[in-house]
Symmetry: C2
Subunit: 228 residues, 2 copies
């Protein structure tokens, strides 16, 4: 089993503020898991009892609305931690996490993280900073959801995905999402998202390669996202 203190992935999250000794302790009690595409890491209402550090792959973090529709609130990737929120509030998870690609993750039990939160101020301050940043993003998303049209949100989502996941050699956005996934991000019916995607394609603002999407005219998308 690999050692946390040698793990490159931790450079991208708060764990980098732990010292060598703390990392070795965590190494001793962490467990590694491989999750297949589509499978859950955890689900709403589940008690997580720790945090997951994503070593490889992408996962979608979502929540079921009372209407029975799924809303994706975040997409997380290599280096990110998930499950911190529930751990800190000591509550069951209010969110679900499903593997969007095959994944490799490490599970670190609750007590170990709490120990470090209490004793290592640099670590807990960084966790706090990350949380503050998540909060800012969420607040922005609330405003977008409440005030922007589906078309604006789609344009913005495409830009965000491009920003976050980059593009692969063929120029397409480097994440595999179904039309339904995209709808669940922008919070709309699948058919609506499909229809808007096809008009964007007609206007040569985007194009499809297989099911992947390539952005042809970024400026145009930005204009649409801002409301023409």
């Amino acid at each position: 089993m690999s050692k946390c203190d040698q793990c490159i992935v931790k450079q991208f999250n708060s764990l980098k503020f732990l010292n060598r000794e703390e990392l070795i302790r965590i190494s001793g009690c962490k467990t590694s898991k491989y999750i297949k595409k589509g499978e859950p890491i955890f689900e709403e209402g589940e008690r997580i009892n720790g945090v997951y550090c994503i070593k490889d792959g992408i996962c979608k973090v979502s929540k079921m609305s009372e209407n029975g529709k799924n809303q994706i609130v975040n997409l997380v990737q290599k280096g990110d931690l998930i499950g911190e929120r529930s751990l800190i509030s000591d509550e069951v998870s209010n969110l679900s996490a499903y593997a969007q690609s095959d994944m490799e993750i490490c599970f670190i039990p609750r007590e170990e993280i709490l120990k470090d939160l209490e004793k290592n101020p640099a670590f807990s301050l960084d966790v706090l900073k990350k949380m503050a940043n998540s909060l800012k993003n969420s607040e922005n998303l609330i405003v977008d959801m409440a005030q922007k049209s589906v078309k604006q949100r789609l344009a913005e989502t495409l830009l965000n995905l491009h920003e976050k996941f980059g593009k692969s050699e063929d120029g397409t956005i480097n994440i595999q999402l179904s039309r339904e996934d995209i709808s669940n991000i922008i919070g709309t019916a699948t058919e609506s998202a499909i229809r808007l995607l096809s008009t964007l394609k007609k206007d040569k603002i985007i194009t499809f390669k297989g099911k992947d999407i390539e952005i042809l005219d970024k400026k145009a998308l930005e204009r649409i996202a801002a409301g023409f």
Copy 2:
């Protein structure tokens, strides 16, 4: 000037985790302010350089969307802290705060709070918990905004306001909000909110006393909020 260590208000927020010595230090550098209804405490893009502790009154925390519409993301009252997020991320504020009633607030400068965040783990852990809770609320709000109809959101908002601010002697919800404010909470046009309120009144689910709203049939509101 009043002393923080004797202030009752701090019982409701993270400041209660500071010890007597820390509170006396903060007392020495805090400043008290009175804000009139409608006036800003701070605005989007402003550098806040500290946190505000609300001693009395209610304030609305809002954000302007690119469409030029205002979205209220939170209503905070006596005992709450505002401005923590920007302080922790060391960024200008992404939100504005306007007094919804006459207010009395205390301003505590950035450096003092940071000192305590670094040295008092109980304090910083509680700040972290509060932030985690805000994040959960925001995530829930995203889902509601994305998936629920305006009618559902209105019903839910009325229930939330009733829950949070209670009712005054005449039975009405104990917060003064204009129709426009309500619209800015649920993210809709003012006329739409007005229309829906009037149908709720016709159905004897709510009633108006002046501009204040009284909930007559809570169960019915809950059914509407859940989608009939």
